[in-house]
């Protein structure tokens, strides 16, 4: 009797050879940009200019140009911050955690997911800066020796923890990303014709750190990657836990919640994967990477979205349960007010987008449908933005003393900074997609021949 194991479904379609991969990955970098790229880049640039103007106006005139007031001291600023930090979670999770778990499917998507992480964290980082009344004094939040007497930062403050958490996360993610890029930069360096592109050659030579492709290089590369993955993994969990402390350590009902750290991490992975979906579904089409980013990848990510979406849903219900179970009238009112108060629509947008819609992913037909996935990913992005808005604004707009209750309404500057930050993000991402190898081709090549069938060729 002969038993034959089923052949694993290939992760790369189209019978690609090593050379095909090289050509496919190098193509967007070496060829001219198409019309589509210029249109999207143009729109992003316009939004980015709006961002610059809004930021300039804010710094020049004062935070009063936003819609904040004496009761609601944070609204879109911190909502955007947490949203972007959350999005910045997927990249490192995909490359670090999935690397440790030896999930090979990550290889087609990890480069872009990490790039997205870096750019998202850049966006996130602008908000704590901009939301300050006196951003030119932002360096005061660093514990640097100073001549202001014996002034020191307040190590009790979660905002200070944020400073450390975000900067650590950014630097480790950046280094991790960069290390992965080195062999691919070397590939591009080797493909650039010095005669026509001397500057490019030079730049990619510098960027690739003199990578020679020796076995020793590869061995060191593997080791560093593993070490950095080990370092980055706890950071994936720590950074959003610490962001959640901004709220969890406060005394405001709706903020002061002990389940925030895991709840925020789950939400961050949820929103991060949704953003990766959004970007990659477009990119595979525009840059022609359908063979590498396959339905399989989409489905895997959809499963992660469904899982984390359900975790987030459980967190929402736990909050409601705890409010009721605690017997604290302020806590109970805070959650009743979320669901039925003046911001009920925000709460139900959040619930619909984050809890109800991911349930559709139980159907294999839907989770392997590209269009459906794209729409759902947008839903999740919107839902997660509203989650942060709901947590921040609906908790403080009606807190302890009804005499101070009020509402928040954004100004065009608030909108400009938010929409502009999306423009800023896309400017960075689009530039990246034209200058960086968008797939970790060196690593990807290791899975080209994962089945013996392929060796027969």
């Amino acid at each position: 009797m002969q038993k034959e194991s089923p052949i694993r479904e290939p992760l790369i379609l189209g019978d690609k050879s090593y050379h095909d991969i090289t050509v496919d990955v190098a193509k967007p970098v070496l060829a001219k940009a198409n019309k589509m790229w210029w249109i999207v880049f143009g729109i992003s640039l316009v939004l980015f200019v709006w961002w610059i103007l809004s930021v300039g106006y804010t710094i020049g005139t004062g935070i009063g140009v936003w819609g904040l007031n004496k009761t609601v001291g944070w609204a879109w600023d911190i909502t955007n911050f947490v949203w972007w930090v959350g999005i910045g979670h997927a990249g490192t999770l995909i490359s670090a955690v999935l690397l440790l778990f030896r999930q090979k499917w990550r290889l087609s998507i990890n480069r872009s997911a990490e790039a997205m992480t870096i750019f998202a964290v850049v966006q996130a980082g602008t908000f704590p800066l901009l939301h300050m009344g006196r951003p030119w004094l932002a360096y005061w939040v660093f514990p640097i020796p100073n001549n202001f007497g014996s002034l020191w930062v307040n190590f009790n403050s979660p905002l200070l923890w944020d400073v450390f958490a975000i900067s650590t996360y950014f630097s480790v993610s950046f280094v991790f990303w960069y290390v992965g890029l080195i062999p691919d930069f070397a590939m591009i360096r080797d493909k650039v014709n010095e005669k026509y592109w001397p500057l490019r050659k030079k730049i990619y030579s510098i960027l690739s750190f003199g990578w020679s492709g020796r076995a020793k290089d590869w061995q060191r590369f593997e080791e560093v990657s593993l070490v950095l993955a080990g370092l980055a993994t706890p950071l994936v969990f720590s950074v959003h836990s610490i962001v959640s402390f901004d709220f969890a350590t406060s005394v405001i009902p709706g903020w002061h919640t002990t389940i925030f750290p895991p709840y925020f991490v789950a939400g961050a992975v949820f929103s991060g994967f949704a953003m990766v979906q959004t970007l990659l579904l477009v990119m595979r089409k525009v840059v022609g990477l359908e063979a590498y980013i396959t339905i399989k990848h989409v489905e895997y990510m959809n499963i992660v979205i469904m899982l984390t979406g359900n975790l987030v849903g459980i967190a929402y219900l736990t909050e409601l349960f705890m409010a009721w179970y605690s017997g604290v009238e302020f806590e109970q009112y805070a959650f009743l007010n979320r669901a039925t108060g003046p911001y009920w629509w925000a709460y139900w947008i959040m619930m619909t987008c984050n809890v109800i819609s991911p349930q559709l992913m139980w159907f294999k037909k839907l989770r392997t449908n590209i269009v459906f996935t794209f729409i759902l990913a947008l839903f999740v992005n919107i839902g997660m933005w509203f989650e942060r808005f709901v947590i921040i604004v609906t908790s403080i707009h009606r807190d302890y003393l009804p005499s101070s209750w009020t509402m928040f309404s954004p100004t065009f500057v608030d909108i400009g900074i938010f929409v502009g930050s999306i423009g800023f993000f896309f400017v960075l991402f689009l530039l990246y997609s034209r200058t960086f190898p968008v797939i970790a081709q060196a690593e990807l090549k290791t899975i080209v021949k994962s089945s013996s069938e392929q060796y027969k060729k």
């Binding site: 004062g62 904040l68 004496k70 001291g73 300050m132 009344g133 006196r134 002034l151 350590t249």
Partner: protein, 993 residues
């Protein structure tokens, strides 16, 4: 070759002076010893200036020269050449003075710093206490809209030219010379007017913008004296007010002090206060029992009361209790009424006479002289003016073109008067219509006297050099009567024989021996006052901040929220929810929370006012409307112009109420600037209250201590602490107690805080965005028909319960709660600031370091009391906020001890740390302990009823220490265990149930 031109360098060269040649040869007349210096190597090597030093000097000089070239703003501070004996820079001087503007009266102390008045507080006398308008008047001194000198037809004129012209024309005048003033309570001014009258045959007419003619005439008829009585609320056990807002603006007197004196639950006895009124007034909100009625029904109830007391009728159900209480408290009760109708006031007099209140709670023998206006005389004057009988009109302290109901008739008459003179401080509505404006001085620049009652005189003394080329009205009249005495000399000579001048000036007041007025016993024909009014009824009132509108250009007052509606920068028609619904009117909150409302066309008799916003007011009697006077100024200055609508044209026949009023909804909506958008406590235990009877049974009633269930049994929050306590045993431990029973919500503390702490004014649009900057606010809560108990009984679900709780009752109980930084000893704000800009002091205070703040606003978010205020913009020197901090004159009111905050930083109540510091330094200098009541905050010193007590809780002799331990004391949101240094005492109402 043409001859070369030659230019001489001077005449000497032309004259071939040999010196010129010599100078040509040697550039330097004397030889410079360069060789001696540089040639001598030995000397050079021995010099202490090395090459490196030389380069340092060079570098420094270059840098210094470059820096000096940069432009820095030069602010000149000019020191005293000879230091005035009484002024020490940094140390305040206090002067006793008096405020009287015809509408408010107060004995005050003026704080001056380096010659500038910056703060006003009450001169601690039982008779008076400054209200918000009096405290704010210091800012009106620095009003940039004030006239800088005399004006003729809108052009500048010198005083001497004006005087010559005026004197000549007065001597040749055809027709009467009339002096139109507010009520004059200054004996010297009266004497001067008399003297002036002797020269020119003058008629003196006194005119009160807010008339009390009815009461004056009633007393004339009842007792033979045209005066208003002095009341003794502290002796009244039952107070029945028919619409008189005696805690607000009624009669210019401040009665809250004596009102509260008889409402101390500790003494086991409180007066019972019934208020029968139309609008929700400050008095009504403090009343134990408030009965909302239409103005017409109020009269019917009054007559019913009169008839019942006479035994001619049975009591109406609404006033059954009142009749019973009044009859059992004869001689210890008081009935008052706000009506400006003589017949009604006579009936009130009759009721008080039946109750035997004269001589006990009402003193006619030593009456109040604050109101003496005669509306008939004013009406006659206007008629005479229009008939061309008046040749000259001199006006002082009045603004008839604005405050008269029929200002058009007055303005028309003004045109027929050949010489018109106003002494207004600025170009107000009247001054713009007159020939001469001879600006009077602000009272803080003036000398003066004021006799509020026959047995007491108060003095006004200048606290600053006159800012502008102005002259006191008294001096002007003296000059025009040909008397060259200075008014100061006149004043001094007048009083020197009667009182001890120096000590009276120092004290601010002097007692006079004055016999009680001779009164005839009550005799009057009491006529029926029954009303048959139809339709909607309107009741006009004075708002707590703006009053009669004379200080409408004062931004502090404009931004001071009304204690009841909590709206500022506006007047509006108050309307009950039912009436609003019947007329299809509503209020709603827009997306940023701010309040918007419908607008109506208001028709009262022949007068039509367009586009008046309506504000739904709980407690407003159904079928009635309220509207505040004092708004709608057109010539008050940059702040007050165009704020609200002018309601004076609605004062028909000298009556402040009208019936058969029509309202018609018009297109458009109006935005209100409300600082409080939610009006009920939502079933929360924020203001703890109980009734007197329950309190007497159990002093802890209504103040059940909160206990948490722990594994160690039931424990109070402060016994299950995560945090290490601060050491509050050593040194001072500043605590502030607020007695909610004594707080009437009068707003004095709010404006005092504004003044002391340089709190910026932000304007209507910013207030609408919920960005008011008040460090101290008075929360006002209404009761709701829905309570937790009712919801439980009727099985109402949480969602509908809370929805219903948001809606105040139609006639709610009202409670006030002043809230400032609670100075938590476990402060949520302190732990979250990343840069440690807000920290805890060893004395129980929560500090805010402005220059360390980077403005994350985390502290404000985490503050359970929401008392922190953020500088969203630069509020000083910013044209977008064109209030007092944007002009050099207005900035003179700033307290030099308190920083003006820059944009981007957080600010909040500091418990007047600068005042505490001063107190500590004084005690230290004298080598003694701080005594009780020595340490004060601006709010505690401004509180007329003593509801705010400040002191060192570590000192057993301080009254705040006993207050902390009182059974009524509690901390706001005590379950949070923030361990506040501010605490409250339960509110006690004197009710049966």
């Amino acid at each position: 070759m043409t001859k070369q031109k030659k230019y001489w360098k001077g005449l000497s060269e032309l004259a071939n002076d040999p010196l010129v040649d010599k100078l040509k040869e040697n550039e330097f007349i004397e030889e410079i010893p360069v060789d001696d210096f540089l040639g001598d190597d030995k000397n050079l090597s021995e010099t202490s200036t090395s090459r490196r030093d030389f380069l340092k000097f060079l570098g420094f000089s270059t840098a210094a020269a470059t820096l000096a070239a940069c432009e820095t703003p030069i602010i000149k501070s000019i020191p005293y050449v000879v230091k005035p004996e009484e002024i020490t820079p940094g140390v305040a001087n206090w002067y006793a003075s008096t405020f009287y503007d015809g509408n408010d009266f107060a004995n005050i102390l003026v704080k001056t710093r380096e010659g500038r008045p910056i703060f006003i507080k009450g001169n601690d006398l039982p008779s008076s206490s400054p209200n918000a308008r009096v405290i704010s008047s210091v800012l009106s001194l620095y009003d940039s809209n004030r006239l800088k000198g005399a004006m003729k037809n809108g052009e500048s004129v010198t005083w001497s030219d004006a005087d010559t012209d005026i004197t000549t024309r007065l001597s040749n005048v055809e027709g009467d010379v009339v002096v139109l003033t507010n009520t004059i309570i200054s004996p010297t001014t009266q004497a001067i007017i008399e003297e002036f009258g002797k020269k020119y045959a003058v008629k003196h007419v006194q005119y009160d913008a807010i008339s009390v003619q009815g009461m004056l005439d009633a007393n004339k008829e009842s007792f033979g004296q045209r005066v208003i009585p002095t009341y003794h609320l502290d002796k009244a056990d039952v107070i029945v007010s028919f619409g008189a807002d005696f805690l607000g603006s009624w009669l210019s007197t401040s009665l809250e002090k004596q009102y509260i004196a008889n409402r101390n639950p500790k003494s086991g006895k409180m007066s019972r206060h019934f208020q029968i009124e139309t609008n929700m007034s400050l008095s009504g909100s403090n009343a134990d029992i408030r009965i909302p009625v239409k103005p017409s029904e109020k009269l019917n109830l009054l007559e019913n009361l009169f008839d019942t007391l006479n035994g001619n009728s049975t009591a109406n159900d609404k006033i059954k209790d009142i009749v019973a209480e009044l009859t059992s408290a004869k001689g210890k009760s008081l009935v008052i009424c706000d009506s400006n109708d003589k017949a009604i006031q006579i009936m009130v007099n009759a009721i008080n006479d039946i109750l035997g209140n004269y001589g006990k709670t009402i003193d006619m023998g030593q009456p109040s002289l604050l109101k003496a206006g005669d509306d008939n005389a004013v009406a006659q004057l206007i008629k005479d003016m229009n008939d061309g009988k008046v040749g000259a009109l001199i006006m002082s302290g009045v603004n008839p073109s604005y405050t008269l109901a029929d200002a058009e008739a007055f303005n028309a008459g003004l045109k027929k008067v050949s010489l018109t003179i106003s002494t207004a401080l600025s170009m107000d509505e009247t001054s713009t219509n007159v020939e001469y404006v001879c600006p009077d001085r602000h009272y803080l620049e003036s000398w003066g006297d004021a006799k509020a009652t026959p047995n007491q005189v108060a003095f006004i003394q200048p606290t600053i050099q006159p800012l502008f080329d102005s002259r006191q009205i008294q001096e002007s009249l003296l000059v025009w009567s040909g008397d060259d005495t200075e008014y100061y000399t006149y004043l001094k000579n007048y009083w020197r024989s009667k009182v001890s001048w120096s000590s009276s000036l120092h004290d601010g007041i002097a007692e006079l021996s004055a016999d009680a007025l001779s009164l005839s016993s009550f005799a009057a024909n009491v006529k029926s006052v029954l009303s048959q009014a139809q339709g909607l009824e309107l009741a006009l009132y004075q708002s707590n901040s703006i009053g009669d509108g004379s200080q409408a250009n004062n931004p502090w007052l404009q931004e001071l929220p009304d204690p009841i509606t909590r709206s500022c920068w506006d007047n509006y028609l108050t309307i009950s929810a039912t009436t609003a619904r019947e007329n299809g009117l509503s209020n709603w909150n827009i997306s940023d929370g701010s309040l918007n409302g419908d607008m109506v066309r208001l028709t009262v008799g022949d007068v039509v006012l367009e586009n008046i916003p309506v504000l739904i007011q709980p407690g407003q009697a159904i079928g009635t409307l309220g509207l505040a006077l004092g708004y709608g100024r057109t010539a008050s200055g940059k702040v007050g112009n165009g704020v609200g609508v002018n309601a004076y044209p609605l004062v028909l026949n000298n009556s402040y109420t009208s019936s058969d009023v029509k309202i018609e909804k018009v297109e458009g909506e109006h935005g209100f600037a409300s600082v409080q958008l939610h009006h009920t406590m939502m079933g929360r235990d924020l203001i703890k209250e109980t009734t007197l009877n329950e309190y007497l049974e159990n002093p802890k009633s209504g103040n059940k201590p909160l206990l948490y269930d722990t594994h160690l049994g039931k424990l109070a929050p402060d016994q299950i602490d995560l945090w290490q306590a601060h050491d509050h045993e050593t040194g001072h431990f500043w605590n502030l107690g607020i007695n909610l029973t004594s707080c009437t919500g009068c707003n004095s503390c709010v404006v005092a805080c504004h003044s002391e702490n340089n709190v910026p004014v932000v304007g209507k649009e910013e207030v609408r965005k919920s960005r008011d900057m008040h460090w101290l606010r008075i929360d006002r809560y209404y009761s709701s028909d829905m309570t937790k108990e009712i919801a439980e009984e009727e099985g109402i679900g949480a969602v509908s319960k809370f929805k219903a709780m948001e809606i105040p009752s139609e006639n709610p109980d009202v409670a006030f709660q002043p809230v400032m930084c609670q100075h938590c000893n476990h402060a949520p704000c302190e732990t979250v600031c990343p840069v440690a800009a807000t920290t805890h002091s060893a004395e129980g205070l929560n500090h805010m370091t402005y220059n360390r703040c980077v403005g994350t606003r985390y502290c404000a978010n985490n503050c359970p009391y929401k008392v922190r205020r953020f500088n969203w913009f630069n509020y000083a020197e910013n044209d977008a906020f064109d209030y007092n901090m944007n002009d050099d004159l207005g900035k003179m009111v700033l307290n030099p001890d308190v920083t003006v905050r820059a944009r981007g930083v957080m600010e909040k109540c500091s418990m007047c740390i600068q005042m505490i510091q001063k107190t500590k330094l004084d005690a230290k200098r004298d080598g003694r302990n701080i005594v009780d009541n020595e340490a004060q905050t601006a709010c505690s010193s401004a509180c007329p009823t003593g509801a705010i007590t400040f002191g060192d809780a570590n000192n057993q002799s301080h009254s705040v220490t006993q207050m902390v331990e009182d059974d009524r004391s509690y901390q706001l949101l005590d379950h949070l265990n923030t361990k506040n240094s501010v605490f409250y005492q339960t509110k006690i109402r004197n009710r049966k149930s």
